[in-house]
Symmetry: C2
Subunit: 371 residues, 2 copies
């Protein structure tokens, strides 16, 4: 055993991964079975059941993509966009920019609307963009922008998109399990998330869900999906309802043991209780941060409870603070991204990380480290 | 804890995943750290060092793709092919067919040469195809065809491709760690493998390696890679040599703990000792199978030691035999794929599965179950 066999035990309060509960870690170490083993097929069914509960959907095509959230994003864009499709991306941070990259790489025409970083997307802006672009087929936006801490109103944005006969693709990487999210009630057509945020599983898996409108578009494609690995017409043979579970690729068996356990824990807690816990801890954290002179950059009504973007005095060496927090307090908080680099910290309260003990550890460590 | 919390302890002698050593399973359960944590950056460096040893290469761009082997395949094709490129695929089983799918989805022109299933690729055939297609840019083929058990001569095929100024893409999913494979000596340009075969890690990760000729082609692309998630020009910022380890996507931290441990075990055993062990166990297995009337379908000189395709009497209900082996003996062997469905079994001896105890268990269980 080398020193590399002993990772430090950190408190993970960055933008993800979040703390992973020992139950989930132990699940990862269960004996590997074949990806077509009858036991594993039962486990797949239960993962689908639990993901449906978490997304609040009855969508048959709800399953975990065998790769991180970026691949879940690409699954949505690669399957729903055909060459020449006009796609409106409402960007308000890094991940909206990544959506634009996806659209153009799929051969779509991207209409990008930019909202200042740190603000929620304004539904009136979407209405205007769609009025100006009558032939738009898809609208895409991020529910909880992990790069800025701003939460957008998915329900209203989806209603507007549907009024204009567009499908919506929603990024719920940071929201699933942590914020109110109702896929069926809000009529979201395609959505993707990540395992390493409010589900508190290890990183590497991306839960997705597609309703029948989305599936109709996928099944009626004139050209094949440009990714073989992510082609839902093929993946459905393994993960689809009543499918033969026929071989497509080898599923990441042990990572799915972990995901299953994390979803069981979410079921035990109750989805709405989990949302409430994230909100309660968020209030505790903000109160504590304000008491030491740090301020959230997002206005109160638009804040993501589980991802708090905070500004600090311009004379602070922010990288040094994060380094000390990590080395002395085993505490990870996140840096800013893009135009917010060097200007904010991102303090996560996701899943198992959203506890009073973590909030207190964070506030008191910061207090000691700040000049 | 439900019954789903207790997977059965199988003996995995199918086409993969293979048995995972308890050391690797326990590594999966180590505490999760952030994907930019200094500890994790050190671990990434050591994974790269160990992958280079396993591939026998000095290639800087040697790293694990954060998704299963199919995504490793797609990483090679999506980055090396530009629209209109002529690509020769030498198919001799399922995975060559998947290569063709990749080529056409990337906008390449695929020249497919088909070899009968169960045979190695004939170098003379490649010479002829390239003489007939002077403007070919890439040649792709499978080293160890997991669907048939045939091993092809990568060294000779690569020499021929290079003589015709083509780059080669090699599928080493089943060969890495189990069969002689020398990336630098054989001058392989791009290669991908899987974690769940002879490395005996859990499924979900795909080691890849690219030499400078391949990197030159990638860096001089006229159009961006059509996948954002797999775009090596971006991934290099996280995994590249002397890179800033800048954020691209969230790496599957715990899966990489497992891969690291499995690679440490391969280093401890010694790569050549591992090749020899696979060969020794293969001889034991074939002798045992022949003693109970089962015959390898591949001629002796072309057999993959770690994947044995065997034929049985046509009156045998093969699915029933496999089901009994699984339910009564906790032993998984693989079915045939494609045209070999119902005609062969595929018996794996990969990584930790390649032991005398497994060979004996397999032979004696089959002996009891066969009519």
């Amino acid at each position: 055993m080398t020193k590399l066999s002993y990772p430090p035990k950190r408190v993970l309060m960055g933008p993800g991964p979040s703390d992973v509960h020992p139950r989930v870690l132990q699940a990862m170490a269960r004996p590997t079975v074949g990806h077509l083993d009858p036991y594993f097929v039962d486990l797949m069914d239960d993962i689908k059941r639990l993901l449906k509960l978490s997304f609040m959907t009855e969508n048959d095509l709800t399953f975990p993509v065998s790769a991180p959230g970026s691949a879940g994003m690409e699954t949505c864009f690669a399957n729903l966009i055909e060459k020449g499709d006009k796609v409106v991306v409402m960007q308000n941070g890094v991940f909206g920019g990544r959506m634009k990259e996806n659209v153009t790489r799929m051969g779509g025409e991207c209409i990008l609307h930019e909202t200042p970083w740190g603000e929620a997307i304004n539904p009136d802006d979407l209405e205007k963009v769609l009025n100006d672009n009558k032939d738009t087929k898809i609208v895409a936006f991020v529910h909880a922008e992990t790069s800025t801490g701003a939460l957008s109103d998915v329900k209203t944005l989806t209603q507007i998109a549907h009024k204009h006969n567009c499908l919506v693709i929603v990024d719920a990487v940071t929201s699933l399990g942590g914020s109110e999210l109702k896929v069926d009630e809000w009529q979201i057509d395609a959505i993707y998330s990540g395992s390493q945020k409010c589900l508190s599983c290890t990183p590497g898996i991306s839960p997705v869900s597609f309703n029948n409108r989305a599936i109709d578009k996928i099944k009626s494609r004139k050209t094949p999906c440009q990714s073989w690995f992510l082609d839902l017409n093929l993946v459905m043979g393994y993960w689809g309802e009543n499918s033969k579970r026929s071989y497509h690729h080898t599923a990441p068996v042990n990572a799915l043991y972990g995901l299953h356990e994390s979803l069981i824990m979410l079921e035990e807690e109750g989805l709405k209780n989990s949302w409430q816990r994230h909100l309660d801890m968020h209030h505790e954290l903000i109160q504590g941060l304000e008491s030491i002179g740090l301020k959230a950059i997002v206005k109160e009504s638009d804040r993501i409870p589980q991802l708090n973007a905070v500004a600090f005095d311009s004379n602070i060496d922010e990288a040094k603070v994060r380094k000390t927090l990590l080395n002395t307090y085993d505490l990870e908080i996140g840096a800013g991204l893009g135009p917010l680099t060097g200007k904010i910290w991102r303090i996560g309260l996701m899943g198992t990380s959203a506890t009073l003990s973590n909030v207190n550890h964070c506030i008191h460590s910061l207090k000691k480290v700040l000049p």
